[in-house]
Amino acid sequence: MNLSSTEAVILIGIMALCTFLTRALPFMLFPARRGLPAFVVELGGSLPCAVIGMLIVYCLKDVSFSSPPYGAPEAVSLAVVILLYLAAKNSLLAIAAGTALYVVLV
């Protein structure tokens, strides 16, 4: 923990407020049922997909591929998550098994 409690409270408050803002925005902007600008609708479809892709990279940002173990635990655990999800179609099982394996590996 590098943060003071006040700083942490501020950051959490900011994130809570921004989350509420995203949820409240349509109710603030469109009190009556009116059409949304086409660009906003399209962005609503594509932005979440892009952000999830970027978040995967964000999660792996500190992995070093140039020094041992060359990201091997991450690669193996990620492969287990993917294969298990595709085979069993069970999100929680895939997440739990992949994480457990990773904890064992590192």
Binding site: S46, L47, C49, G53, M54, V57, C59, V81, V106
Partner: protein
């Protein structure tokens, strides 16, 4: 009171699928935050007031990264951008609600949204109370899961290394689900690509804002050019 109890009884069975997911992911969050040395009130506060699964996992990293409020704003807005569209089909539904309306908007997570869009109040349950109970039950499961995870982690008393992989696994599964639906495969790849490029160029600490900028830029340009192509 009786009316509310009836609504609660009517709402509960519909929330059972969310119960399992929220207890599990909430527990993973609580355990993760505990393993980073944060106390129980931080876990409670975040699950109570932020109440957004993906963002709370990312927040664990933000809180470890130093005091960067601008980054917190941008990440919170981008990670939750999808919520902007959840309100639209519910504008009418929430229109008639009184004091519960603000809470309904606050608690509009992915799971609550999909429940509210798919279930109809059974006969005998008052609509507004029924919707409110669905939202409140889900929120309650998330908080309960977070606290359970915190206490489980504290009881084991060993700081499990590598627990943050739960976040990687979560986003990977969401990614796969989106991929299977066939919607937004190009943006999904764009997100991964922009992330990798900016991670290499800007380094691990500072890449997230440039990556988000790049994503928005490419999506805007793609839209601009496809619109021009249609006109020509």
């Amino acid at each position: 009171m009786n009316k509310n109890l009836a609504a609660l009884k009517a709402a509960f069975p519909f929330t059972l699928p969310v119960l399992a997911g929220y207890i599990f992911m909430g527990a993973a969050f609580g355990m993760l935050l505990q393993s980073r040395g944060w106390g129980v009130f931080w876990v409670l506060g975040m699950s109570l007031f932020i109440y957004a699964g993906s963002l709370q996992f990312v927040a664990v990293g933000i809180l470890a990264g130093g005091f960067r409020p601008v980054e917190a704003v941008l990440i919170a807005l981008m990670v939750n951008a999808r919520h902007i569209f959840y309100g639209l089909p519910l504008l009418g539904e929430f229109g008639g609600m009184g004091k519960e309306r603000a809470y309904m908007i606050f608690s509009l997570t992915d799971e609550t949204f999909s429940l509210l869009c798919s279930v109809k109040p059974p006969v005998g349950a008052e609509k507004n109370s029924f919707y409110f109970c669905i939202a409140a039950l889900n929120h309650f499961y998330w908080i309960t899961g977070s606290l359970a995870g915190f206490f489980a982690g504290a009881a084991v008393e060993m700081k499990l290394k590598g627990l943050d992989f739960v976040m990687t696994a979560l986003f990977t599964v969401i990614f796969l689900k989106q991929w299977e639906r066939g919607a937004g495969r190009k943006p999904a790849l764009l997100g991964v690509g922009a992330g990798i490029v900016c991670r290499c160029v800007f380094g691990a600490q500072w890449f997230i804002i440039p990556a988000m900028g790049l994503i928005l830029l490419v999506l805007t340009l793609a839209r601009f050019f496809s619109a021009r192509g249609e006109k020509a």
